[in-house]
Amino acid sequence: MKEKATRHEMPCQDPVIRAHNFDEVALGYSKETAVAEAKRCLQCKKPLCVGSCPVEVLIPQFIKKITEEDFAGAGEVLKEKNSLPAVCGRVCPQESQCESKCVLGIKDEPVAIGRLERFAADYQPAMGKSKVSVPAPTGKRVAIIGAGPAGLTCAGDSAKKGHAVTVFEALHVAGGVLMYGIPQFRLPKEVVQSEIDNLKAMGVEIKVNTVVGKITSVDELMAEGYDAVFLGTGAGLPNFMGIPGENLNGVYSANEFLTRANLMKAYRFPEYATPIKVGKRVAVLGAGNVAMDGARTSLRLGAKEVYIVYRRSRTEMPARVEEVEHAEEEGVKLYLLTNPIKLNGDDRGWVKSMTCLRHELGEPDESGRRSPVPIPGSEFDLDVDTVIVAIGQGPNPLLTKSTPGLELNKRGNIVVDPETMETSKPGVFAGGDIVTGAATVILAMGAGKKAAAAIDKYLKNM
């Protein structure tokens, strides 16, 4: 009989302190806590958790290794299925995936699978490089466009099959959204870099500064001898509200704001040369994880008041509950059922306030969420000097426009066979946000994994 233990909390930096630094918020389990938490796992014969993991991590097996205090072994088990476990242990929404299916969760709280994954994944780099087994080369070459979660996963899985993999990345570093989007305090860049270094150690070649669609094209890569191509270029074009005043100074897209802070390390300006400007009162439009990242980064850059402005209510907020909680603990305020209709500027062209309209919830819309209905005559002005627009993004057309024969849907996303991730162009596969529209890291990784399996099959049948 197992002794009944409650789920172990993960220590975090104190909210008052962490709201002013860029160090990681969650501090990770100690060995003792990890073992104790791992022992809560029932080691189900037919584990439901695995079935709801997009990359099918062998969850009971890696947790068993932790109970045996074979931490390096736990890491090895993780890597069999997951090319980026230290990333997933931090940013996956486990509460709606693996942990949501945990049998313990029916009466009690589920096993903290995410925290254990993070623990096991972090253990290895701390203990030095793991051994890399490189399979016999197949002689086939795979080109991967975009070094984000989808592309890196596809690269790792393809390399494990023995294919020669080259990843082409437009920015000056690999990692995609893991580097430019998710902040240091949630996902340290050193963690991402170490995962990328692991892939390089497996023989994956990464070519940065290479904008496919400009310096080369998919057709040219195939003519150069790549046998298959995976497109994982992400959701790259920021949406704006389409309201007056959005081009005022002080108004950023979340992409710009976070890219300055994360990729360019503007939070260390002027040591790092890229500037960022945050005023005293910041409004972040939107309520997804990106909005939370923008809000919490603003606080850390010295903003006194930070508001999340969202037209629906708390229940409909797309961000993870944990992210909203963290943001609120740090002092971010929520302006719910509120939508801006106009940004007002001063005589020098800087945003000074936002005219908003209050809303109430009406009937459910096509997304199943109750739709916000404006309340007539409820206009009010909110004084702000910085606005961050975090209402999603569309597909970047740079690559798709330069690739003839690629079927796109009306939004401009690439159409694929959902089983194989194959596009309408032979030998070309795609996955991640460029297919689905803006979604999560793990869904992109799942797509990269599926595509790698299909690419392997395709290459074998060539």
């Binding site: 500064n209 310096i215 081009n247 300055r260 002027p270």
Partner: protein
């Protein structure tokens, strides 16, 4: 790394760099730009291409020392290398035979107008160049421009070379000769491009300008470079950098260029402090 193959001081604060970037050189066309970064802590700086040599595999850019990062670039030597050199970015110039075209370059803007003038001449246009600068000593690439134009008109604010006044005075001078102008390209400071567009609009002369707003990634991801074109918001990095000058909201462009002025001054001050051997 992208080595500096050749460095040439064109004017007191303006330097030409020929950079080894063979893959970019294979694909670049007039009107496009690159993004460069000098070092690990550096900014991503967009620079419109001045020249390219597909055989040698080089790209030529011209940099004016106007802030922290451009000052760092201009200190580079023929032994230096850029850490990152990304391109070609943006949409190339629409090169076709328009008839008679005027290529206006103001200040540093003469550099990007150069390959456009050359390409326009190569396809059969009658090319008249108007080169503007504050004074004769700041006028760059005059010889190069003469080689790719049928006629060159120079305008300096102080009259130390050519006609005294602005590039619009140079343009008026050409019109006064009775020439019919089919199209104008104008690249330079925003105020200059605005003046040219205002000058040509009532005359109905097609006028293309090249916008150089604040950018970060240069591939459409960040939206920092938004410009208003006929009241529609566009991203200069992927929709431009060239736009119909008669539709551009130049006042907005000037306002947006001032976004990080305070920070630029802070960085600049730090550079001077470092020069004097001081530390914070």
């Amino acid at each position: 790394m992208y080595k500096v193959a050749n460095r040439r001081q064109l004017a007191p604060s303006i330097v030409l760099f020929e950079v080894e970037a063979p893959e970019v050189a294979q694909k670049v066309e007039p009107g496009q730009f690159v993004i460069v970064r000098t070092d690990e802590k550096g900014e991503r700086i967009p620079l419109t291409v001045m020249d390219f040599d597909r055989t040698k595999g080089t790209i030529t850019i011209v940099v004016q020392d106007v802030g922290y990062s451009s000052a760092i670039i201009n200190q580079m030597t023929e032994r230096s290398a850029f850490l990152d050199f990304i391109g070609p970015l943006g949409v190339p110039t629409e090169i076709e035979n328009y008839g008679t075209v005027v290529c206006i370059g103001g200040g540093l803007g003469i550099a990007p107008i150069y390959p456009i003038a050359r390409a326009l001449k190569e396809v059969g246009n009658q090319v008249v160049a108007v080169l503007g600068s504050r004074s004769a000593d700041l006028l760059i690439l005059e010889e190069e421009m003469r080689a790719v134009s049928h006629e060159v008109v120079i305008a300096t604010n102080d009259g130390s070379a050519g006609v005294q006044g602005f590039v619009t005075d140079g343009l008026a001078y050409i019109l006064n000769q009775g020439k019919t102008i089919n199209a104008v390209w104008a690249i330079g400071p925003v105020v200059m491009m605005k003046a040219v567009a205002e000058f040509t609009k009532p005359l109905g002369i097609k006028t293309i300008v090249s916008m150089n707003p604040v950018m970060v990634d240069g591939t459409g991801m960040c939206g920092a470079c938004r410009v208003s074109i006929g009241s529609e918001t566009k991203f200069a990095c992927v929709d431009g950098p060239e736009f119909d000058g008669h539709l551009v909201d130049f006042d907005l462009a000037m306002q947006r260029l001032s976004y990080f002025k305070d920070e630029e001054n802070r960085a600049r001050a730090r550079l001077q402090c470092n020069h004097e051997g001081g530390h914070h």
